[in-house]
């Protein structure tokens, strides 16, 4: 598929995925994935459930070996526990009774991989408070994480990932199970982090629409294939049809994008296509 535009030098890329394929139990889950993410860029990883988004994240995190191809993070080959990467996993399920406050979760982002009991209370506390302020979650500091709402938990997990000062933030479906208000808040927070701290944000989602206002580029996954580029470059009938291996229409409705699998050729109803910049797709599940 159309690779990233090669106007920047590869050395500057914070993440360089080059021809990665992954075979899992005889099935090719990822096929020749290639794209690049520059520092401070906001990139969406769009695809329906089972498209291989989590597998790609696991490869980048060093938890899953690629069958072919290479991944460079910050110009270096992959290692496990890469301090450059901050990671926010898919929704966590915690017992509301679990004695773990929001501030404990954030503190674990600082030193959760270390042996022994934590020392240096004052310094830790200050760093955690500052981080909670940065994600507007200071008021949640002493609440049990299990009792927080989905959006609040995401904020806390984002603070957890950011406190180790990563340069690339990976978020696995952070918008799943959030109501529309919380969704917008989390997206705005992430956009601000990318812009102000020049942290590259790489976020997976099954719906592209919430990310449209803030996304610099996107990587679109379908059936193990990927296409990457700007929204205008990727969300086009020709590109997506090739990706899915069947005819796909892209409908633009009030700045939102609808991707629908159709019969051969455009259907009877025609929608006026708006300009690429303000497009927003609602990805209707494709079968």
């Amino acid at each position: 598929m159309s690779g990233p535009t090669l106007d920047e030098s590869a050395d500057d890329a914070i993440l360089d995925v080059d021809g990665v394929s992954v075979w899992l139990s005889g099935r090719e889950v990822l096929h020749d994935v290639r794209f690049r993410i520059m520092p401070g860029e906001f990139t969406g990883l769009i695809g329906s459930n089972g498209a291989g988004k989590t597998t790609l994240f696991r490869v980048i995190l060093g938890l899953q070996a690629a069958s072919t191809g290479s991944v460079l993070v910050g110009g270096r080959p992959l290692t496990r526990r890469n301090p450059i990467i901050g990671y926010v996993p898919q929704k966590i399920f915690l017992d509301p009774d679990m004695p773990l406050r929001a501030r404990d979760v954030v503190a674990l982002g600082l030193d959760g991989h270390r042996l022994g009991v934590p020392l240096g209370w004052g310094r830790r506390r200050k760093a955690v408070d500052a981080m909670l302020d940065a994600v507007d979650a200071r008021r949640l500091a002493d609440a049990r994480v299990g009792s927080l709402s989905g959006g609040e938990q995401q904020r806390v997990l984002i603070a957890h990932a950011l406190i180790s000062r990563p340069r690339l933030l990976l978020l696995d479906e952070p918008l799943a199970n959030l109501d529309i208000g919380a969704e917008g808040e989390v997206v705005a927070l992430l956009a601000r982090i990318a812009r102000e701290q020049r942290i590259a944000v790489f976020i997976s989602a099954h719906d592209v629409n919430p990310l449209l206002p803030v996304m610099d580029r996107l990587v679109y996954m379908a059936a193990g294939n990927t296409a990457s580029g700007t929204t205008a470059e990727v969300i086009r009938p020709e590109v997506l049809s090739a990706l899915y291996g069947q005819h796909v229409d892209v409908l633009r409705v009030h700045g939102r994008i609808l991707v629908v699998a159709g019969a051969e050729g455009p259907s009877g109803v025609t929608f006026e296509e708006t300009d690429g910049a303000a497009v927003g797709p609602d990805i209707v599940a494709l079968r």
Binding site: Y87, L100, D104, L108, L115
Partner: protein
């Protein structure tokens, strides 16, 4: 106890690291630990005890813990606490999210094995003292009580430990005193008092937690904006 530890290791190696499977593993380790403690109590009781073997195995006997066993009990407890302290943060991170922990370079599986092993040790020790049937109560009760009283991870550990110690010591005192109670001339079993106290603490903690919560709610209704402004609340009121 050796067998309990091996069982714990095996269970982890079988690959039970999905959340539900963990509960199964926990139950199995509890069982293995109890079984082992029963064996030791049996061997010990048949050679020395004056009370019936069955009674000793099921209900244990704190007073029957022999002088020779004491050093090994203390040593095993110390090692368990040390392992817990060393793995503390990794355990917390793993229980928050195994994926997250793995991405941070935590050896999730090894940490899981270490945890199951020290749990097997703890169960075996509990069974030695208060017996197989009631050991579960001593292992599960104090932490459950602590969860109602504090929301700090470290605090919960300390509170649970204290509750366990207080329950056992108070149980000993009551058992000693019970010699003068109604069916005169027969002391009541220690294990009964320990478990009764653990349960009582659990109920009291529930009531305390409810009162604290109600008071806090009234407090936040009276000054709704104060809490939202992010000012630190009284740090000690939960602990």
């Amino acid at each position: 106890m050796g067998i309990a530890i091996v069982a714990a290791g095996l269970i982890e190696l079988l690959g039970l690291h999905r959340p539900r499977a963990r509960d199964v593993a926990t139950g199995l380790v509890l069982g293995a630990g109890l079984g082992l403690a029963a064996l030791f109590l049996y061997l010990d009781a048949t050679s020395s005890s004056t009370t019936g073997v069955t009674v000793t195995i099921l209900f244990g006997s704190l007073f029957a813990v022999s002088q020779q066993m004491l050093p090994s009990i203390v040593a095993l407890s110390a090692v368990s606490l040390l392992v817990l302290a060393v793995c503390y943060r990794m355990l917390l991170l793993s229980s928050l999210s195994p994926d997250l922990a793995a991405a941070r370079g935590v050896p999730v599986r090894a940490i899981g094995i270490a945890y199951l092993v020290i749990m097997a040790v703890a169960v075996s020790l509990a069974a030695e003292t208060i017996g197989a049937i009631l050991a579960t109560a001593l292992v599960v009760g104090p932490p459950a009580t602590a969860l109602r009283l504090t929301k700090r991870p470290g605090g919960a550990l300390v509170v649970a430990g204290l509750i366990g110690v207080v329950a056992v010591w108070l149980g000993i005192v009551l058992a000693y005193d019970s010699y003068y109670w109604p069916p005169a001339g027969h002391g009541w079993p220690v294990s009964f008092f320990v478990v009764a106290l653990v349960f009582l603490f659990y109920l009291v903690a529930g009531a305390v937690a409810r009162i604290v919560q109600a008071r806090r709610r009234r407090h936040s209704e009276a000054a709704p904006r104060l809490a939202a402004s992010g000012c630190a609340e009284h740090p000690g009121d939960a602990a």
